[in-house]
Symmetry: D2
């Protein structure tokens, strides 16, 4: 049994980790931390866990965390910077769900997050935890940066085109729609039901923190600079991201459907849907699957890729567990076989 | 492995059965029927099942169904009447999620459902599949009538009071709020998002088909006639039933909290919450648990019980599988360990 | 033109007052206050008002407010206590949407609100602004306590029974379902879309601040003590209250439908629906109407009244404007003719 | 008073017309037709109208309709084709909310709608009712084709760029998100609350009927062919369209903000928001306003326009009334001053 600790268990990615891990056949949950809720049974805060765990929140403590095989960080950015190295030094591995180690360029990180990068020393060993790209490195990694939710859906949608150099040097567009849980469990007026339901709006059009992360991943895949416009939208639902991706590829001769199916043929959590499909986010609600459909308008040369995930699962906690499974040589889908909740 | 067939797989209880059964460790899904969708892969209709099953809908056929150990009916009322006996004759057992065998009084059934009872011959052998009441009979049963959604939440909420004869012969009230999935997957104007969201309304105040079923169960528990007023409400959410139960018990000396905890101490799927709690339906979304809180206003003598379930799980398909587990000597929670999806 | 001021314009009742008043034919909006947003155009906070008003928030100032004919308080409780008297002294009238003057018994108020009553001197002149009961006093009033949302829907539903002494001394039940806007625009975790949508829950079963207010109104109507159990529920929608009211009236000979129709025949904002109806909250969304249906189960003697309002209109700002219209001799429905937004 | 008739009053654009017209100061509603609901009071079907109108549905009859000054068609496509000419011949004017007269090219219409064009004779006199473009012609028109919902939001968003020839001959993208009311009030599985809520999906990526209409309008404005990719999405809310528009304009020197503000300076129903804004659909819920924000990424040359409307008001019934006001020389905003319902 893998001994697991979670730092920061009071947010949505924390409770989602718990939902997955309490039923994971190879995991023993040892500790979950929260400074503010020290002593409180987690099932008192999240009653869906009643009967599934008796764990109580405790104050984060390196020694206790160090007795785990792996420690997940489900914390706001900045927290893992200050704690991850100490935990790595105990021999435990670290899987960070925050943005702290996603950008390999610390200067870029500091620009977007507006604070000094607090862990430049260990940044080089951080592996970007997108299994569909980095499975081999994940296997050997001791520090994982779990991709963001938008970056997961956008990269998985564009990868086959980029890797095959099918996109000329032109503008790519990612028009993304996210459920409100992406904004976290913090009390903010903008996330109130009365503000966010029955409405749709774009936000951060000027620039969103996930843009450099997406661009980094796309440029690695393309082997060259990529022009990307990324517009996120707040959508009146709890879970789900729908990315609608646009690329001009006028002379494209390839059979895109076959290309996508081949690229993801062996991926347990990427589902290329039949030609002409329109995946709905509810088809992945609560599951670790990314469903993709690819469309090509022959007369205009426009490629349109539709990519949906559950932002809290494949976009966060599920993908984190997928990384853990790979790191510890478990079945990659261990604990991740949940069928999406439909309706 | 238990070989399972499902008659009528295109509705919400059908897809919910599939969601549970494709991950059930002791089950092999053999057949799922639909006259209208013959030949269609079920995952084409319900894309959440892509990658989990290759089954296709087929026309119902007694011989094929008879090769199963157990056949679930997830059909509108009347269908099981005409087919259940033939299937029982093959030796397979039947678990009916419809209303066909819930009322032991066929005359009462005919009054509420407005058509002749089509299976009076086998009605006496039908066991009402509420495990918290009938576990011993379920173990021996060959024909199970799975309780309705409202009746499950109301009966579990009132049972400890009724069984202990704590309610004088007075009016009991069940004010119940149901998500829209209770109305099924049929195309009807009243269930459109634009009609049912952002609104709350009572319906069937004059009389609802679940009333005689609830009354039958409550009277069995009380050993006498019960006066019940039942008012269902359509609530703007997909899943969930919240039953708010009222009873006058002025001189009550018992510690209701202890009474409820004792009654359900060994029940794997009934969770009596701490005194003063307010269970939310989302705490059971996608899970087979019924959560109950009991309140007592000492100054007025009013008892208020709050009882929540997921109408599609404990109120239908999950309870059906719980019955199957009991009938076949499996762990009662096999395939039913899902944690509620929160948020 | 009536000159109007609003104290506390940043909450939902404040913006709702503005929505109504900017189109009111007899009103000139002079001032709207907010300490925190001093100087900000209200249309910057509430973009639905762009093009309808150029007002800016200002710090509350008695002199400026005193130049108005009437000042609305759309503030948390306690604020009107400290400011209303000064404003009354300027000659302006006060319409308070908060709870500050709703209970005539200051001791009771202090018990439920947990703080000293700050305006006992002017409490006796406060008129409870339920026009269907107090129209004559409202006409003469200088200080109005606008009823709470739950109290409005419950009292209008029970009044005809109470006034006609049709209810013996027994337990009455008000099972009420409210949209989330009733919790206000403050940032709280419980009102987040991810917490409150797709869920239903009771709250404050032990006792809610609206209970003494409802009881006060019902006892005035009945002329005697009333036993009431009141259970509010948080419902996943923005606006609307649905009150389901229960009373035992076994030997009732009256034609309740006729009784209700007669009682409200001349009320511009109470709509008694045809016998057998089930009013939906969406039928009053954005309008000042209370729709009521009355049911009687002859065999059990149970009376069930369904009463729906928009909590922000008839339950707050619309009713406040209705009071203003009466006080100033305007047409009672001036500015209040909005048709509910359906769908 | 303008005498008004409505053909086809049982859908969402029909009830929305009624909501607006019953409070229109210059209108007298004479007749509303429905073959299926002949004789039913409209307020029985749409209880929000109780107290506002006593009209009953009647079977459409040319003579009765011909006594009106103007007849609105709120019907599925094809109906106005067969009836409009007869009504025009009586002297009444026609405002058609359906798609029947939106495309001036009947062949194109037949291709997209899959049936013969039934009114080619009067097609040339149809004026496309987008007041911001065709106000002069509308004034003289006897037959108006009210623009579709998507086309209204997309055209208003692109117009200033197109009219000023700021877009080279490149691909333009309209990524549009619509509430479910756009699908109408017909009973279809896809529009059920349980199917469409808590989910986001694209649809009709291969080609949507509004594409040729948008293209026609854009090409008129640009004076040349326009390449457009249009992807509509079903969004889990009742009302609202959010169009996110993309255009590459790398060398753009213009101040787009000033350009947009100047273009719409005199338009009563187009609100250009301050630079950097993100309009939300709820800011126009129930109102006839289109709010627009324009963004320019200088480093990539990408122009992003955000355009929101209420699909049932500015996208249908409100715009229809705006056309009527222009045709009859009324104040253009008569009956259209509703403030959006927020929250």
């Amino acid at each position: 049994m893998i001994k697991v600790g979670i730092v920061g268990g009071t947010g949505y990615t924390g409770v989602e980790l718990l939902r997955i891990l309490v039923n994971h056949p190879d995991v023993e949950l040892k500790v979950i931390t929260s400074r503010s809720e020290d002593g409180l049974p987690v099932a008192d805060m999240f009653p869906n866990l009643r009967g599934h765990t008796d764990l109580r929140f405790s104050v984060p403590d390196v020694q206790t965390l160090g007795e785990c095989d792996v420690v997940f960080f489900a914390t706001p950015h900045g927290v893992a910077h200050s704690l991850a190295e100490e935990i790595l030094n105990t021999g435990a591995r670290v899987i960070d769900l925050s943005a702290d180690f996603r950008l390999q360029d610390a200067v870029e990180w500091e620009k977007w997050y507006g604070q000094p990068h607090g862990a430049k020393g260990i940044l080089p060993q951080a592996v970007y935890g997108l299994p569909e790209v980095n499975r081999a490195q994940i296997k050997e990694a001791r520090l994982i940066a779990v991709p963001g939710c938008y970056p997961t859906s956008v990269q998985l949608g564009f990868l086959p085109l980029l890797e095959n150099n099918l996109l000329p040097e032109q503008m790519l567009i990612a028009d993304c729609k996210s459920g409100v849980s992406g904004a976290g469990r913090g009390a903010s007026v903008g996330s109130l039901l009365c503000e966010a339901s029955e409405s749709m709006m774009a936000y951060a059009v000027k620039g969103h923190r996930h843009l450099p992360e997406i661009r980094q991943g796309m440029e690695r895949a393309a082997g060259k600079a990529v022009n990307l416009t990324f517009v996120p939208h707040l959508t009146p639902m709890i879970r789900g991201i729908h990315s609608t991706l646009y690329a001009q590829a006028p002379g494209l001769a390839e059979d895109l459907q076959a290309l996508y199916e081949a690229r993801y043929a062996n991926e347990p959590f990427v589902d290329v849907m039949p030609a002409g499909s329109h995946p709905a986010t509810r088809s992945v609600k609560g599951s670790n699957v990314c469903r993709i459909a690819v469309h090509h308008h022959a007369h205009t040369g426009q490629v349109i890729v539709l990519s949906v995930i559950d932002n809290l699962v494949k976009g966060a906690s599920g993908q984190a567990v997928q990384n853990m499974n790979i790191m510890f040589g478990l079945a990659e889908d261990a604990g991740l076989k949940q069928v999406a909740l439909l309706p």
